[in-house]
Symmetry: C2
Subunit: 114 residues, 2 copies
Amino acid sequence: MESVFEIIAEPNRRAILSLLVSSQQSVGEIERQLRMPQPTVSKHLRVLREAGFVESTVDAQRRLYRLKPEPLQELDVWLAPFRRFWSAHLDALERHLDRMDRSTRTKRKTRRSR
Amino acid sequence: MESVFEIIAEPNRRAILSLLVSSQQSVGEIERQLRMPQPTVSKHLRVLREAGFVESTVDAQRRLYRLKPEPLQELDVWLAPFRRFWSAHLDALERHLDRMDRSTRTKRKTRRSR
DNA sequence: GGAGCATATACTCGTCAAGGTATATACAGG
DNA sequence: CCTGTATATACCTTGACGAGTATATGCTCC
């Protein structure tokens, strides 16, 4: 379980990270919101903690987990050269984002502004 | 082998992608530059191709592989909320990037400009 | 059309990580 | 202290993916 990439390859871990973006959560809250068994949550949190994605503070019996930015920033850094690459392909980008947009939204009618 | 994340979890695949950022390459060129056995290269290219990270054009017996931007853009999109999160933690960011910088460079002496 | 090169695929094997279940640790409150 | 709650860990099993080796496909040129 070395790299940032392997850590976020796991869907449940990504779900946990996404949950924590809004605010810190206890293990139980994560468990309930994501509908996953408690040992699973704890184990993934352990992985995330040891990789520096999250940190925890103790609150009585609860442990509150919060995001730490560094590892994902590393990912961002890795992505940088590719961003430079695809800015040469901006048309395809627009088309792609547009397609993603169209497939996820339900009722909007307005077009993406350029 | 579903998600973008699983695809780039593999170090050899990331190496191939990084190679292709500069320009398209034949299988043999990838093989030589990365010092990996040919079937390994072909198999990883297959995965990358099927996931839409690369596309190939035929040139006689060679196949030239080139990057396609979409999947990595997806990654970029996923990263967006976290970027918003950590812009609140800019100090830690600076410190972290600085540390990464220091650990990878060998002879530079100049400081990162803010 | 046969030789040689470039690339793809088939198959086997080992490894490792995720899930499930059970259990341990730790804290709170009566 | 004992019960209940919250979280962590241990152990086992299973499945998937990557490496390696061998072989197939396909193209070129003579």
